[in-house]
Assembly symmetry: C2
Homo-oligomer: 264 residues x 2
């Protein structure tokens, strides 16, 4: 596993009230695996100035990279940029490049209304993060990357960020399923986990109509070791009278469609 | 708004790697609105002992109630109970009542294997949380409520917990939609938000095939004030040439089906 770590801060009341289902964390998690960076922590915080300042400061100290999502639009509840600036002790300034991008996007000076110009207010010294979807940029200051909350925009921003990060070898995943009860496989599973302590092995039971299933998931950077671990798990399942189902992780979530998803 | 606050700690590598889509946070968020408790913070942490101890201690100090989900099953990666015990400085003991429940569930002493008895190991002094789905209980110690990660089980546990919490008047939600750009409505929206500073007003743009939409969401305990705020927002939308769509929050997520969801 890489020594580089990441932390996600999801900013927005709508996630904490259950109005909006966050899908950004899972997307960032998958991208970090690919980049060989360990997503080690995530927080969901409300649109409250002190909460943003404090959590950005805490997480910025504790992790290699911090990604925030949400709160960078034109309305009164979009307060991320000003509070990230506060967290770094720098002023929030009208960024000429961000303003130029918005001018190109909206077409004329008189379209650059005050709410739209709000989206060009960037902490001093920050670098812009491209927004190929709707122009208004995110920004990077220190080790903090400030992105939009709308999944389609966040994903496009992240695509531009990931290649610039220093990561490690990709963290690969193998999975193997069966229909044994978790408590039956537990002792053997502990032994396999000890034998492959260089890998991360998780056991995930799930309900489905008519019964239950179990997904065993192995993660690590060494594909040979991964294959060995999966073989050991397959042998364990068979030794208990089960039928291993290779490569299927029944309950894994597909990459979410970014359409019709709202999140700030 | 109530002075009582809540914090959720989601425990599990599978959420941070994007394997499993958490749906518990949103469910707890909705239940807290109903209970008049402000869900003020949430964290997602990996299956690492020190992470569990530190985060439980930090959040237990900072919020009225802390809910954890995940990591209370029978396998090697289920390490929540022992580390919550550590966080409170108490030993983890075989709980006689939890053992009796498992005995009734599994039918005979010889069925109480070591992995199953692991699920009866509870921090000293903790109260059991009923699990009407699959018997193995959660527990409550101090202001921390330790629940399963599988949504169907977590929801059943929470149903038993919520009536025991001291909350406030229910926090109600109203929403109104339109198809105006967020930057056009922003100045008027700021004024309405200032006029109704006792309420929480959020603005949530979303993409949909062929265009965009905007949901305005108002939250508070005083239904009369909520109605007044929605009327003010409706008038604002009309003054800008838009058509307000009352009571519709297009992108709000429905209560998730708890079937076929895996999460520890």
């Amino acid at each position: 596993m890489s020594a580089k770590t990441a932390c996600v801060i999801i900013i927005g009341n709508e996630i904490l009230t259950g109005r909006t289902q966050d899908v950004n964390l899972g997307h960032i998690g998958k991208q970090m695996l690919e980049a060989g960076i360990k997503l080690a922590h995530a927080r969901v915080i409300p649109d409250i100035p002190e909460d943003i300042v404090r959590n950005v400061q805490e997480c910025s100290k504790a992790y290699t990279y911090v990604f925030t999502t949400g709160g960078i639009g034109p309305t009164h509840d979009d307060i991320t940029a000003e509070n990230v600036a506060k967290a770094f002790g720098v002023p929030l300034l009208l960024n000429p490049e961000a303003r130029a991008r918005l001018l190109r996007h909206y077409g004329s000076e008189d379209q650059l209304t005050e709410p739209r110009l709000r989206m060009a207010m960037i902490p001093q010294g920050a670098k812009l993060i491209d927004n190929p979807v709707s122009t208004a940029p995110g920004f990077n200051i220190g080790n903090v990357y400030v992105m939009a909350g709308v999944p389609r925009i966040m994903q496009a921003m992240l695509d531009g960020i990931v290649p610039t990060l220093a990561g490690g070898p990709p963290i690969r995943t193998r999975s193997i399923g069966c229909f044994l009860p978790e408590s039956q496989i537990a002792p053997g599973l502990t032994k396999v986990a000890e034998e492959f302590s260089d890998l991360e092995i998780g056991s995930y039971p799930y309900f489905r109509p008519g019964g239950f299933g179990l997904s065993l998931v192995v993660r690590g950077t060494d594909t040979k070791r991964l294959d060995q671990a999966v073989a050991a798990l397959g042998a364990l399942i068979e030794s208990l009278g089960g039928s291993p189902v290779l490569g299927i992780d029944e309950t894994a979530v597909p990459e979410p469609s970014s359409q019709a998803q709202s999140q700030k």
